[in-house]
Subunit: 342 residues, 4 copies
């Protein structure tokens, strides 16, 4: 009954089966195995274009490696002030980029405001006294559970590219956004200008396998060196590849994400009906924020429900569902909340 | 029939079973799970002292994080000229340390010569025009398959500590050294002055789980920040922990290593009997170097045997066994070599 | 008739004379000369305590070196959002610190608000997912020409030290602040908790000589290595030392600063009397901000007066005086402004 | 009577006069002044091509900035094992490059051996497990006082460029090499493939002004950002420019260097005649190495002569002359040496 994050779920049975199948026999290391080749083909199919793929052990590594490839050390990374790269990675982007500066921007639902971006991409450009605007990073779905529409991404992409900057997408919850929007992965990424995508999978079903999807393949060589140098290049790469292979097979990734979204929607609907509960912001994917009466928070904690609260204001809680959340768990939470609200 | 490296093996059945058991139910992230706690206790038992443990995805990350914790950016890392950190990590130590300098030393069998070390630890110490000797890094077993005896480590440790430097051990093949020597892990590490150990497991049975063992626990807080910042802190840590838990249970790690060593010894004995073959250097663990007649190298390749050659001199090959190597594979290689030598 | 910055002035005659005297004969390099020793004694007298001193070629180097010494790479630097380190150094602090993060705080007149600081020094302390609050940097006088009173510095110092952080002062215009306040250098720095001071001199009379004054002398060894490694350690150090020696002799530094302040006050008084002119914020030292009617701005530019405008809002200008500014120049500007305002 | 280094000399009278002339009136900062523009034109004339020029405060900064511009962080810098960047800069190249690796090569008289270079430029190129050969750095004149001939530089340049690498020249004593060879500056640099030159002036007559000369001007923008970020961009740039302007006027730089060389030749000739003295290596410019009898070394020290000894072997001394060395000083040294040798 943990609703604090989608990283508390285990893994999909299909992932474990794939790993089991991969766990015998010898295989060439560092991506020269069959599984790794298969995954690259699956990504190409998924995104309807040739792509390169690098496996990484965390979303933080995916983001930091991508940003380091897209900005010089004296550059700035334009991002939302509530973004994971700005708040939750202990300066990994600054470490990997050799000291680039994250410039936080505003916007509702943790989505970058286009007007702010329009100013920021030109701010002191070419002035050696200031960091140079170099890359824009957007998060899909956002940290507050909202999603950018294809039109919104295209607009931000246009602003970015017109000013000569690069575009990165932190897709820690990319699957949830695709499931929510019903748009194609291509429309949400490279067709809108995305150069590099941090493709999150761990939160949505794999054990320990995330990836960087490279749309601008002129960046691949540099990424490969950075990846090795970061200690992210694994010898037994087949074990990451097997997970992602299964994840992308027969739509598992989208089924998982759609399920998590459905659970969040069920939770949202149920909370609406509880007196004293206020829903906060868009909840397009699998994260929702709400303000609960104090006795409801206390009561849920006493019942053993685990979730974050009071980080974002008095009485504000964050609830996250996952591919593994059951309707029984949702209903148990709702029943308990209703009981404590009474 | 791949003898190029021990990283081409799959995984031990016990590891896969442990992973399977860990793959259900919710668990708290970032090491707050039960598996992670259990592994820390196993390491403490193994090393006969309180230790802290960080999980990493590669040996390169283990080494680079350790070195960054033990040297300032203006420091030097004294290591053997044939060491992995010096040659095979694409500058990961330089990246993580923010630009420390690796100073290569000589010595037979890829073991640091004590006399050279004695000079190097004092070289221009305290002189701001030069990098400052800060940490010594030794590899156990070495890149050429030799092992340091406890006495040898103690001597290097004493030289290191008398000069006020820190001691790191790259234990990518630590299990093989322990199996070869029959010494206790404690005698080979902290009792001889080792501050941080890169504890390799992937080459000897796990899928994707290595660790840093922290003997000087005053370093743990710094390591934890560096680990997160490097993108090495995984959310679903139970999947690394479960692997290492099984690895350290009922002596699996030592059995695996002893088997690899036995296979290498069998290979060595067999090669000795083949005319024209010259064994090179000590082969105490699971790596051996030999000079083969050209027609033997060509013949083995034609038969489908995979191994590195000619990197270390004309006709020199490296052969590596693993926990998964079978006597049939060894005998097939020997039979083929004898045939081509005839 | 340049009022854009105090860095457009030449040098004090006393500085040039000292340089001339130093420009003959041999001298030992890297600070082993007599001038360098003399300067250290002068600084000790000035600050009423033993200090160490490093010479640097720019204020940016002084700041970046100081910050790198006071924060680990995963730390954060708490500073005012309008500070020079945050806006005008092209990421030098991020470069030197190997990727620390600057956290901008608010407060009037570019002075850090104590309440904001009180929250920021504790923000996510000890949480590896976030950068660690490590050092507070205050600017004296501030970028808008205000000065912190001794009480204000003491309060910020107390908040900083109670939370276990370090305190840095960017004193690019330290002389102006001392002249304005009539307080002792000691009260404005180490007695209030300052660990390292970027002691600016170039804007106030030297040619190319700034310094870092080290109050916590346990930091000196680290600073010395960082300084060399940064390419800031000059061989012919006597030429920097001679400048600073003269600068600190017979109160030249304070006379120069007092003169610049007097010129700014005269300018301020004159502007007040001009219709349509609005003075903005405190102007305690040699910088003032004012909103001028557009025809005044245009007219002054046409007359050849040089100054920045419109960076801080419509019609807002910044005017800076220096040790070399004359009353004639001030009066010429005022006369012209009054004429264009009519 | 200091012969330990050419950095113990003061400055040329012409330099001081130029500085004095520059020391009045206002001037625009950061290179927008007239002196800075004049210097750029002088460098263009000198090198017979359009160049960009950046002023730096030390040769270490010139080297580190240049190397950072010519190699990615995962690159290697191929240099002589006795080079200043490898031994005497406290890791400044590693700091500025964000962790590139210096690969030391051999060769007589501290000149890179072409055969070694030919191998090194291809070593593991394109292999992500290793650092990538990226830039070659040669020192002219070398640390032992030899000079590369134009043919030698062309050969190294060809090897470098054929392999797709960049070429840097550490010209801390470039003037001495030009004076020694009688070749044109152009032939010794860009015509032979040099991309960036660290143009040393401080050792040969200026006070504190060195420069980077940019032959591949596509690098200038990057260098400008790096320069600011390094804290090397001075506001009162006129004071550096004025020194270099005078240095390049009427051949002062070459006259100074020729004088230093002549003094070294006189010293060399004199030493040859002293029994028991052995000259070591080529002494083409202003540095010479010799092995002296111990009683000569002791006697010279007792007489107050200052020089380094015993760093390079028992009885080996280094003697350095400068633009300011007099024949009286040389003769005094020779007389004393002869006396102690008797």
């Amino acid at each position: 009954m943990i609703f604090s994050s989608d990283n508390t779920a285990a893994t999909s049975p299909e992932i474990l089966e794939a790993l089991t199948r991969a766990a015998s026999g010898q295989a060439l290391p560092y991506g020269a195995d069959d599984h790794s080749a298969a995954v690259r083909r699956r990504f190409a199919d998924l995104f309807e274009c040739e792509v390169d793929v690098l496996f990484v052990s965390t979303g933080t590594a995916a983001n930091a490696l991508s940003l380091a490839t897209l900005t010089p050390p004296w550059g700035s990374v334009l991002c939302h002030r509530d973004s994971h790269i700005n708040n939750d990675e202990c300066g990994a982007p600054e470490f990997y980029t050799a000291g680039a500066k994250l410039v936080p921007l505003g916007g509702t639902d943790a989505k970058i405001d286009p007007a702010e971006l329009r100013t920021a991409v030109r701010h002191k450009a070419g002035d050696v006294h200031s960091v140079e605007p170099s890359v824009v990073s957007i998060t899909q779905a956002t940290e507050t559970g909202a999603v950018y529409t294809p039109d919104e991404i295209r607009e931000l992409g246009r602003i970015t590219k017109d000013a000569g900057l690069r575009l990165h997408m932190d897709g820690a919850r990319f699957a949830g956004a695709v499931a929510s929007l019903g748009a194609t992965p291509a429309d949400l990424t490279w067709r809108a200008g995305v150069d590099l995508l941090s493709f999150g999978a761990t939160k949505n079903g794999t054990m320990t396998a995330d990836a960087i999807v490279v749309f601008d393949r002129s960046l691949t060589s540099q990424l490969a060196f950075r990846n090795k140098r970061a200690g992210q290049l694994t010898a037994k790469m087949r074990f990451q590849a097997a997970q992602l292979d299964a994840y992308l097979t027969d739509g598992l990734w989208l089924r998982n994400a759609a399920h998590a979204n459905t659970m969040a929607a069920r939770l949202q609907d149920g909370l609406k009906a509880i007196p004293g509960v206020e829903l906060l912001g868009a909840a397009d994917a699998n994260i929702l924020f709400a303000r609960l009466p104090q006795q409801v928070i206390d009561g849920l904690h006493a019942d053993g429900f685990v979730f974050y609260h009071d980080r974002w204001g008095q009485g504000v809680v964050r609830l996250v569902t996952s591919f593994a959340t059951t309707t029984e768990e949702i209903d148990a939470l709702l029943e308990a909340a209703a009981r404590h609200a009474a």
